[in-house]
Amino acid sequence: MRNVSERTASAALGPAVTETVVVVPDTPRRSRWPRLVSLALVVIGAALVLSFPFVAPNPYILSAGVVILNYAVLSTGWNFMGGFTGYISLGHAAYFGLGAYGTGLIVKYLQLPGFVAWVLAALLVVAVSIPVGIAALRVRGASFVIVSIAFVLILLLVFQSWREFTGGSEGLIVPRPFPDLMRPEHHRVFFYLFAALLAAALVAWWIIDRSKFGTALKSIREDEDKARSLGVPTTRFKLIAYVLSALVTALGGGLYALWFGDLDPIFQFSILVGSYMVLMALLGGVRHLFGPLLGALVVGIALEYFKLEFGDTQFHLVAAGLLLGVVVLFMPDGVIPAVRALIDRFRPQQTSIRDVTAAELLEQNRAAATSEPRAGASSDHRAGAAPDPHADADNREVVR
């Protein structure tokens, strides 16, 4: 309205404006970021990612790039559920592990080509995630978090104990899909495969974000009961989001298996991996398309660095924990909203959410004061009422 742009308002304007202004530092609307700027940023980002294998100084850095892209896929996958519906799953490593082991086991026992196994494993995970989702999504909030953790712990025990089938703690060797490639070449190919998978996941998230389905999911995030009362089939929609989320995560896991070639239950079904997905998404901003990707960049690089520096001790875990604490304390909505809020500080502010500006209000009050003195007291607010048996706090308004 008027000459103010659409933006969060945070300033009250003198004593005349008394309404509480709630600051929601998150207004992801197109009008604030011109379409061209967004497009340019995406193109630059994509160019940077695609050129990385050529500028990476050595195979180790390249493999770290693959790991970070893998994290980005997992975290974006997690965000199909966590970002849209607000259901925080700490056990998404279950689908990472199932995707990886599924691919490895199909290759091992059915002798199928790696990428056929990858697709089959993802479909199997979808089949598994439906009943698990139906059961887990019956509860909300903290209960859902606990159920999700329980699921990954059960899988960890099963895959560790079922030695004859999974290889147990000795691990499972997954044959490489490109046996002729040298190691750096192998990394490079998988870097692009992960990039393609990430792009597909981002496009899917973007489409849902702008769809009616996405709007319905977000209404579940804010108030599930209210959404239901408006006719949103909440149970079905949550399940669809959950299964999509599991699918993307499983595809990331399967690709990891083909790339890394060696699976261990303790790493595949790790609470830690699940927590990293959440940390990355939270750090970047769960309501933003590129939030998890950005978080994966920051956390992934930090984790690699910590491992390199303190790999012999458990200190890299402490460092990751500290990072999570800092994010939750200072940037609860993630980096993207925090940066946007910072930029907005330097732009013209909307000063009030009232229908009138302070100047207009002053004008109105002046006009009212001159035309009808004491008008307000004549009809509505008469004082001096008899005490009344029903006049409790709630209807004191009508005591006259």
């Binding site: 998150d26 709007t215 239901r228 009362s229 408006l230 001096g384 009508v398 006259r400």
Partner: protein, 262 residues
């Protein structure tokens, strides 16, 4: 869905309560004709909000029937009632705060498949509530309480409801904004909607309503045209929180209550 009934909403002989506790509603009957605002007033604990819960399908009655435009919908859930043209605006602020006004309003039309019908409806509510159009792309949480209430009204009107249930629309609003909100209630009525209103701010609500029902102990104690209830000094003393100074002289203290209930 033309019917013989001249009421859009009928609650017939409703008995309802929570869990194993005593009944809250004991044989309550309320009927809402088209383009009419019926207001339920009464002391705390009289069962006002429970009436809306029963009417909207959130609480199943133990006996009695709920009829929307001639169709018996007793025992169905909220979503089913929405399909039959009954929308419920909840107590307090119930917009989705972190979604835009547009998303809020369009969620109201979630059950509608026809895009053209949705567009027409959007134009209709934007015309009825100009603020909705003005703030279309803004986050609903950034609007003031009164503006949010209008977004809620707009959302509930997206399904072209025959009946709108309003639970305490003035809660938390200043007197000026309250006046605006009741103005909007009158506009919804004038657009043909039947409105069942529950309000603590009884006198204010009766000034807008066409019919008033005074609830006490789970049944309709007295009902009648709202202006008559307002003018009735005995009622004023008992249920409206004291008498307004001007009407005390007009009515006289011996006037009978407007109409006896069932």
């Amino acid at each position: 869905m033309a019917s013989e009934s001249k009421y859009l909403l009928e609650l017939n002989d409703i008995e309802a309560g929570y869990g194993r506790a005593a009944l809250v509603l004991r044989g309550l009957t309320v009927q809402v004709p088209p383009a009419t605002v019926v207001c339920l007033v009464g002391p705390n604990g009289a069962g006002k909000s429970t009436v809306l819960k029963v009417a909207s399908g959130m609480l199943a009655p133990r006996s009695g029937s709920i009829v929307v435009d001639g169709v018996d919908v007793t025992g169905t859930n909220s979503q089913h009632m929405l399909k039959h043209g009954l929308a419920h605006v909840l107590q307090g602020h119930s917009v989705f705060r972190e979604m835009t006004v547009a998303e809020n309003v369009l969620l109201g039309a979630f059950t509608i498949k026809d895009q053209k019908a949705i567009d027409e409806r959007v134009a209709f509510v934007q015309n009825l509530f100009p603020i909705v159009g003005e703030r279309w792309k803004q986050l609903a949480g950034l609007l003031s309480g009164g503006q949010q209430k209008q977004v809620e009204f707009a959302r509930s009107l997206m399904v072209s409801p025959k009946v709108v249930l309003l639970d305490e629309p003035s809660m938390g609003l200043d007197p000026k904004t309250t006046a605006k909100v009741f103005e909007q209630v009158a506009r919804m009525r004038d657009a043909g909607t039947a409105v069942l209103l529950v309000e603590q701010n009884a006198r204010r609500a009766l000034e807008t309503a066409d019919i008033g029902c005074v609830l006490d102990l789970g049944r309709v104690h007295i009902s009648g045209p709202a202006p008559e209830l307002l003018a009735d000094p005995a009622l004023g003393d008992l249920y409206l929180g004291g008498r307004p100074a001007d009407s005390a002289h007009v009515g006289g203290s011996t006037a009978e209550p407007a109409t006896k209930g069932r």
